[in-house]
């Protein structure tokens, strides 16, 4: 018996495409995991990381097959087991926690019962014992009041709580190996930080090994002892966490680390050119076309996995010796570049006392005279100057998307005013004159959903042109389409493509081109980069910044990612439950004093640096409706000073570190300042 828990050797997995050709998903992958080890598996979308995770459980997607190599778990070849034998291994020895646990729970069954069912499936345990064990498990995943939680249905739990239940179910069989496939994607930053904390504790408590699959380097830095980097179906680098983050030896790892926006470094990070190839189509190194170190040998000969002497550090690069000689921390500083904002004194948009509610009283409510619940958004007042980027920051449910939808006229405002130059934007989009519509454009989060799948790129960009410039001839519009594609750095041949035939970054560029086709003055960006891979995120941010500078376009930028805000915005508004918490310029917001909520958000940010750790200063309780009175953050705030927070809306206090910096809190500014450390390096 070897001392390895998982031993994957030269594993190649592929499928036959419609033309009957063999397409590889994994190529010659070798990976070992020791008992109790935590391994982070990193890669961008489509690199095969999930396929590898599933292969370790002996699972292949339908149509896929093992072309060569082995995947052993505790010295048993997983692909030689029968279904029945696999069943015994899965759940009992290896457990998988998928990305969307909410969907993997049965909606019609109480969660406690679901856990008991899992327990009794694997062991012949009595009902009472199973019940006891179930409560123990819920306690182990730090769910408050296990008895109460066990009686709930999945929809009565928040996303983070559902994920905790999924973890409890995975732990039911006391597995020696946990595979986590992006379990925190889609959760709020604070919830994510708490869940990762829990996972780390569980691994320490149970001694189980863990493989954590993610695209997020910050998350990986938090949880793993060792990190493996995947690119185009191959493992390109495998080393201890400290080595990966401080002395990366593969140019791809470097590129990946350099393309992540950071709190500590202002400015937009590096953007990698190109996109990953299909595994196995390039004769040499798969990364060669995007690599800045590239030489002749890279394009002709595939590299092999070399060991860096005296270290458990493997890298698949011809030139790793040259790569590690260049100082990474210096390089990291150099790739960041700040964008210049032209600031004008001219106000572009003025919003005063905006109030929005989704509540519609129906007949029964009116008869019963039901009290109206607090509005989703209330008392929001701000203005944006021409050519400026204002970031609206907050977790899901903070009302940031609601505000933007109201500005674009898709949702009615209950009260307040939105004044845009001389136009009143409080009215519904259907009642706005066309020239007003033209001036305000939207860019959505997910280009998969925001582009019509049945239209070609030409048709997509043509729509605003036809609508806003009816005088243009077909030939003029065609010319304009090509010009717009050029402005978003896409070749004119893209005109004939459908959204399904483009990568995420390309699709988002088309969505940007569509917004800019109108020649807008105000662009509302709803998390435009959060669905993109990190390596293209920076390029899209750069593009948005360039387009802004050409015409002094004003941006209102929604995001939950504070590192992106630091890179891209020049003014920030922090929202909680549809109420303002803090406003200020970027530099002011990122240095103390902070609003307690801002402090929570900043501390939950996971920097790609294993030496940092989130502090978890707020309670992780989900809130669905704003409190009826007092400070919106009262229930989660650890600094709550009692009565006054629960009853009175806090006053605006001006911070001394800048003229625009204002915080809405009952705690005196001096006291806040005294207890807070800056998140930025001094």
């Amino acid at each position: 018996m070897s001392n390895l828990l998982v031993d994957v050797n030269n594993l190649t997995i592929g499928y036959h495409n419609k033309m009957g050709e063999l397409v590889h998903v994994l190529r010659d992958v070798s990976l070992q995991i020791k008992p109790g080890e935590t391994l982070g598996l990193v890669g961008e979308s489509g690199c095969g990381k999930s396929t590898l995770g599933q292969a370790m459980m002996g699972y292949l997607r339908s149509g896929s097959m093992v072309v060569g190599g082995t995947a052993q778990f505790e010295d048993t070849e997983m692909f030689s087991l029968t279904d029945r034998q696999l069943e015994a291994v899965r759940g009992n020895q290896i457990a998988l926690i998928p990305q969307n646990a909410g969907q993997s729970l049965t909606p019609t069954m109480r969660v406690g019962k679901q856990i008991i069912e899992t327990l009794r499936l694997n062991t012949d345990i009595s009902k009472d014992d199973a019940n006891k064990r179930m409560l123990e498990l819920l306690g182990q995943v730090r769910l408050p009041h296990p008895e109460v939680m066990a009686a709930r249905y999945p929809h009565e739990l928040s996303g983070g709580q559902q994920q905790r239940v999924a973890v409890a179910m995975a732990l039911a069989g006391e597995p020696v190996m946990l595979i986590l496939d992006e379990p925190t994607t889609g959760l709020d930053v604070t919830t994510q930080a708490h869940l990762l904390e829990l996972l780390c504790e569980i691994v320490t408590d149970t001694g189980a090994a863990m493989m954590y699959i993610s695209h997020d380097m910050g998350v990986i830095a938090r949880v793993s002892d060792r990190v493996a980097i995947m690119y185009a179906g191959e493992i390109v680098e495998d080393a201890s966490s400290a080595d990966i983050f401080n002395l990366p030896a593969h140019p791809y790892t470097r590129g990946l680390l350099e393309s992540i926006p950071r709190l500590a470094i202002a400015g937009i990070p590096y953007s990698m050119p190109g996109q990953p190839p299909i595994p196995g189509v390039l004769p040499g190194c798969a990364f060669a076309p995007r690599c800045s170190f590239v030489t002749d040998i890279c394009t002709s000969e595939p590299p092999t996995l070399d060991t860096i002497p005296e270290k458990p550090h493997w890298v698949s690069c011809h030139l790793w010796e040259q790569v590690i000689e260049t100082d990474f921390s210096q390089e990291l500083q150099d790739v960041f570049h700040t964008i210049k904002h032209k600031t004008t004194d001219e106000n572009s948009i003025d919003i005063s006392d905006l109030e929005i509610t989704y509540y519609r009283a129906d007949l029964l409510d009116r008869l019963r005279n039901t009290l109206e619940p607090p509005s989703t958004v209330s008392g929001v007042t701000f203005s944006v100057q021409r050519g400026e980027t204002l970031a609206l920051v907050g977790e899901s449910g903070s009302g940031k998307s609601t505000i933007v939808r109201t500005i674009s006229g898709l949702l009615p405002a209950k009260g307040g005013r939105i004044q845009f130059d001389d136009c009143d934007l409080t009215v519904n989009v259907a009642d706005r004159p066309m020239h007003t519509c033209k001036r305000v454009q939207l860019i959505f989060q997910n280009p998969d959903a925001s582009l019509n799948p049945r239209h070609t790129v030409a048709e997509i960009i043509d729509q605003p042109l036809k609508l806003y410039f009816p005088e243009m001839t077909r030939a003029e519009r065609r010319e304009r389409q090509i010009e717009l594609l050029d402005r978003v750095r896409l070749d004119e041949r893209y005109r004939l493509r459908y959204p399904g035939q483009m990568s995420g970054g390309e699709k988002q560029r088309v969505a940007i081109a569509r917004a800019f086709a109108a020649d807008p003055e105000l662009v509302l960006c709803d998390e435009p980069t959060s669905s993109l891979d990190v390596s293209v995120q920076a390029a899209v941010l750069d593009l948005l910044a360039d387009l802004q500078n050409e015409r002094d376009t004003t941006y209102i930028f929604i995001t939950h990612d504070l590192a992106v805000v630091r890179a891209f915005a020049n003014r920030v508004i922090v929202l909680y439950q549809g109420r303002l918490c803090e406003v200020g310029s970027v530099d002011e917001i990122y240095s103390p004093p902070y609003h307690p909520y801002t402090e929570t958000l900043l501390d939950a940010v996971l920097e790609p640096d294993p030496s940092t750790r989130p502090k978890l200063i707020a309670k992780d309780i989900p809130e669905l409706t704003p409190p009826a009175q007092g400070c919106p953050f009262q229930r989660r705030c650890l600094k709550n000073i009692g009565e006054i927070c629960d009853s009175e809306i806090p006053p605006w206090q001006t911070a001394e570190n800048g003229k625009e910096h204002k915080i809405r809190c009952h705690i005196p500014m001096q006291e806040l300042l005294a207890n807070q450390e800056s998140v930025l390096p001094v």
């Binding site: 033309m19 050709e21 299909i278 898709l410 989009v429 706005r432 925001s450 609508l467």
Partner: protein, 299 residues
């Protein structure tokens, strides 16, 4: 030289096809679907060309060969008036096919557009109209068709419009359900935020996405309509005699079924091959489009 770069090129060209081409390639891989398509094409060609290629005069009554068994001269025998069954069967689908195709087009156009509009508008208009649709669906339509046609007479345009209208009601529900999938997507929000008119959103944004469901629904409806039309015709409300028609031929000849089975089998064979063809095709078509049959089928 087959380098990796070439195969990379090939892989990217595969992905650069339009949805129509993609669907056709998927369809071509289905043997059942191609058989269905061939059967449909066969019947369409026959309907268009039968008057010119008939081996016998379908109207000629011969007292010498009444209810005769198949012979060299009459390969499916004759009916009780001594007319050639084979020729009559070949000609018997003309009116049926023309009427049902036209009504299918009417049904998916009016039903489809109404359904998409209702799905897009939502709200009270949608509520009220859908309840009316539910009420209409509870009526036994064959009876209503009988009444309408007996009042207005067995004219082709009357039949076409009544069929198109009644089957369109089924399509409303299908189109509305398919639309609801799309109305909350961001590209519709984007169009609304741009200030596009409702008509443009329905026709340019929603229609292309719902079209595949509508086409499959149309194909299914077509086969249902064929059956209904033949039933009407069987009851004597289809085609004016002596024009041959499958349904009416079966009605005419059912008494001589024991002595001349071909007089009924002939038209039945023609009708069933067409309906089987349509069903095989629509099944494969739905799969080629990536739809499930249950989604496109009338409820």
């Amino acid at each position: 030289m087959t380098t990796a770069a070439q195969s990379a090129e090939k892989l990217t060209t595969i992905r650069r096809r339009s949805p129509a081409v993609e669907t056709w390639e998927n369809l071509r891989r289905s043997r059942a679907g191609m058989l269905g398509l061939l059967l449909i094409i066969f019947h369409l060609i026959l309907a268009l060309s039968s008057p010119y290629i008939l081996p016998q005069d379908p109207f000629l009554m011969r007292s010498d060969v009444m209810s005769d068994a198949p012979s060299n001269e009459h390969i499916m025998g004759t009916d009780k008036l001594g007319r050639d069954i084979f020729s009559r069967s070949m000609l018997g689908g003309r009116v049926t096919i023309v009427v049902t195709i036209l009504s299918t087009i009417i049904a998916i156009t009016w039903g489809g557009l109404t359904g998409i509009f209702l799905g897009f508008l939502g709200g009270r208009a949608d509520e009220i109209l859908m309840r009316i649709v539910d009420a209409l669906l509870s009526i036994p339509w064959l009876l209503v068709l009988l009444i309408i046609i007996s009042i207005l007479g067995t004219k082709m345009w009357v039949q076409t419009i009544t069929f198109g209208f009644t089957y369109g009601i089924l399509t409303i529900r299908v189109a509305r359900a398919a639309t609801l999938d799309y109305v909350s997507r961001e590209f519709i929000l984007a169009a609304r935020a741009r200030g596009e008119r409702k008509r443009t959103i329905v026709l340019r944004e929603l229609m292309p996405n719902v079209l595949d469901v509508l086409l499959v629904d149309g194909a299914m409806n077509w086969s249902w309509m064929l059956l209904s039309f033949t039933s009407l015709s069987f009851l004597g409300f289809g085609v004016t005699p002596p024009t041959p028609d499958w349904g009416y031929m079966i009605a005419e000849n059912r008494e001589i079924l024991p002595i001349q089975p071909w007089s009924v089998f002939g038209p039945a064979l023609m009708l069933s091959t067409l309906i089987i063809g349509i069903n095989l095709f629509s099944d494969a078509f739905a799969k080629a489009l990536g739809l499930d049959r249950s989604q496109g089928a009338p409820v």
